[in-house]
Assembly symmetry: C2
Homo-oligomer: 323 residues x 2
């Protein structure tokens, strides 16, 4: 005589619990067996109306919830080991849960990060998915934010500013642009592309690393503060997708919006000059675009962002903040 909650877990999530440590999701807890590695632990929640929109497809919500955490593991140089989730739902509907669980399972398999446990609770409010993810690194090898050194190159993966513009598309600001561009940007907002394929290169070559989730400018500022350094970024070198370039060219967006918008889920890392070639080669091998956008500098000044003429621009805001 199982309850509705147990039925829900058995039906949708037990098939995903392929790791023996998940104990088939029938216990109070999961077990992570000792491996001799350090365990990297990260937790990130996505909430309806904040990180995704009411009515977003359940499959993209599932992928975003897991991927924002996978992105943290990638930035820390860790290999995914599994995750637990808290699923906060207004109701348990087959037509929502089935595609949600299917997409979660697909991503879990694709990234080698399977579900270990969770909690399912009802709410009268917005949907929320909170995930705590685990990754392995050899002892003492997690890449922190704190060890950037003057002279290090600053690198960023992928392209910056797509997701913030994708959110604007979803809010109806896409008029005058082609469907393909709009769809690309929306997809970048809904389904981040975590750079886990670059994790070992980051672990082996980066001096400091974090994921860009609240805006490149603000996140670089945090990394510099944590490392006790400053930085100079050449805005011309910040990688932008063709749709973002088109919006900027038409005067409908600007580089400041690109570097202060949230939801990029790219990796921002610093690489010592003598490791750059190895890092770039490893990135090519992994098939992940990395761009050198500036240098770490001595001092504790806020990072400077230089325009094409070499002049620092004044940013009105650095990043997204919840409060």
């Amino acid at each position: 005589m199982a309850s509705g909650e147990d039925d829900l877990i058995a039906r949708y999530f037990r098939p995903l619990a392929t790791d023996p440590g998940a104990l088939g999701l029938v216990d109070d807890a999961a077990v992570l067996r000792s491996s001799g590695d350090d365990l990297v632990v990260t937790t990130d929640a996505v909430i309806e109306g904040v990180h995704f929109l009411p009515g977003d497809p359940p499959d993209t919500i599932a992928r975003k919830a897991l991927r924002v955490n996978l992105s943290d593991l990638a930035a820390k140089g860790a290999v995914p080991a599994g995750f637990v989730l808290t699923l906060v739902l207004r109701e348990a509907k087959e037509e929502w849960l089935a595609p949600f669980a299917r997409a979660l399972g697909e991503d879990a398999a694709a990234f080698g990060c399977s579900v270990l446990g969770g909690d399912t609770v009802s709410t009268p409010g917005p949907l929320m998915i909170s995930i705590t993810a685990f990754g392995h690194v050899p002892p003492g090898r997690m890449v922190r934010r704190t060890d950037a050194k003057p002279g290090d190159r600053i690198a960023v993966t992928g392209t910056i500013g797509d997701a913030a513009l994708g959110l604007r598309m979803l809010k109806g600001e896409g008029e005058g642009f082609d469907t393909l561009s709009r769809e690309f940007l929306i997809q970048r907002y809904r389904v981040p592309q975590p750079r886990n394929a670059l994790a070992l290169a980051i672990r082996d070559h980066a001096s400091a690393s974090m994921d860009v989730s609240d805006g490149l400018a603000g996140d670089l500022t945090k990394l510099c503060a944590a490392s006790g350094v400053s930085a100079t970024v050449s805005l011309a070198d910040v990688p932008l997708s063709a749709p973002v370039r088109a919006f900027i060219a038409k005067g409908r967006s600007d580089i400041e919006a690109a570097i202060s918008g949230g939801d990029d889920y790219e990796v921002l890392c610093t690489v010592p000059e003598n490791r750059w070639d190895s890092f770039a080669a490893a990135a090519r091998q992994a098939g992940i675009q990395v761009s050198a956008i500036g240098r770490i500098e001595a001092g504790t000044a806020v990072p400077r962002f230089l325009d094409a003429s070499g002049q620092p621009i004044q940013l009105k805001r650095l990043s997204y903040s919840h409060f």
Copy 2:
């Protein structure tokens, strides 16, 4: 130039992050160093309007959020190692956050389970705190739900049914009862007493164990199903507090409500007969009341609950379910 979210974390939570693995809460992730032990992982969320009431004191909300997870660790025989939290707030108010963080820090220190990381997000909806907690056990020693054997005694800690009645007090059903009784029951609902002091005794003597969070009857049913056994419980042996006994004596509640109500956060475990004396002695030494309430039996029938005359009662419901 820190954002409001960073200020909030720095001000209220960084002082609690005393574990070196928390990295002062300035990184994307925490590190759990390899210890050679297995890591037990549990996750439980509390949500306004479901697990606590709007207007409940922030300090009791903090304690409940952590303690429901500590209770899982205790039931699994694990020693607390730390936790990460996701804090979902409508607004960041000093008068709420200060006592919340203070109480969380007090409990973290008292139970030796300090904050390792977290995520703070804004919501237009109900408050929510999701915690993932970690505990250590020697390799292979986590106590599961799956190994109860016929003949084992069934034990439960503390008293059962207090919290469910406490919730009724908060809903205004306390008329005719003295303030002390009402306050005791309300406190049992708001601030569970996790039995971590009994963890090593459970680890060393129990064959199966879980925490009672959704109702003793339903939770025993789950344990028996997981172990492939049945059980008989003598309702006269189920430990009840004086206030619950008084409510039952006046006809305002009954034993069925006590064993099917949620939020007990006591430990339900099975102990082989030849370990019982050692288990009971360890419990006495730990200062924790344990009561033998029945026996595990062969078969897969739903557990039977016998009244004072030895007749099985029919339960209308076994436990609380979210869906």
